[in-house]
Symmetry: C2
Subunit: 160 residues, 2 copies
């Protein structure tokens, strides 16, 4: 169970990082040398999103051997389980922060904000906007998986 959840979350966060990292759109322009280009690193929150998803994905990859070790020796290894809970909690907070920050920008990009005079740039950068919106799914799925991971760990610790 633990192992399967970790693989799902790793795939989700990797997919999110790749989808956001490769999102790009160049608008056709009539004037040469002037190009309107949208990329993930134009907006610091999207860069943060890519970085946090990459970190979380790397962590999940590294935690797989530990998860396999827990399956083999299910009765022992309370300490290593607690260490895993600690890291899971920190990584969940990191992933939630990255996903929320990107979601805030995606919301603004779609709707803009009249009070702050922020323009909804989705009207121009249509496909870039769609790509960034979809890339959030993997990340939010990862958050739910992390919740399940922490809860199953707590149950596993209580049942030893």
């Amino acid at each position: 169970m633990d192992l399967v959840l970790r693989i799902i979350a790793a795939v989700g966060s990797l997919g999110s990082a790749v989808a956001m990292g490769t999102a790009e759109q160049t608008l056709p322009s009539f004037i040469q040398f002037i190009q309107f280009n949208a990329q993930y690193n134009d907006i610091p929150m999207f860069t943060f999103f890519v970085i946090t998803n990459s970190i979380v994905c790397a962590y999940l990859g590294l935690s797989l051997p530990m998860s396999i070790f827990h399956i083999i020796r299910s009765s022992a290894a309370i300490n290593s389980r607690i260490i895993l809970v600690i890291f899971d909690t920190v990584m969940m907070a990191l992933l939630t922060a990255g996903a929320s920050v990107a979601a805030a920008i995606v919301y603004l990009a779609h709707n803009g904000n009249a009070s702050a005079n922020w323009f909804a740039y989705c009207q121009q950068f249509n496909s870039f906007c769609e790509r960034t919106s979809w890339s959030l799914i993997g990340s939010f799925g990862g958050i739910i998986v992390f919740m399940l991971l922490i809860i199953t760990s707590a149950v596993a610790i209580s049942r030893r």
Copy 2:
């Protein structure tokens, strides 16, 4: 320990909600009937921040009796501890999402974004901006306290 952490987090989230909820600034205007006014509910992310902090604060208040019960009967009550871990995890995710979303907007308000043509409105709404920035502290402190809560719960469950 658990009780003290919960009280700290409750005070932090309450402070954040109140600080953000009461943040308001009206710019002096030379023309009558036209006023430039900034309030937290102009921006949906700030409203979300106030709501999440209020929910988390209410939950922490409700969880205090349970925490006291755990102090009195420290050896028993594994099930109620696990239920508390489940809710703590969900609330941590909620608080992290609220705080990150508000932080993203505060960042934009301070720096703006040239690529998206978003203007840094802090240049006008100075005191409103400062108030919203400071209100994040309680929330981010609350996230750290939630991490400690989940970790101490896991350790307590393992030690029964």
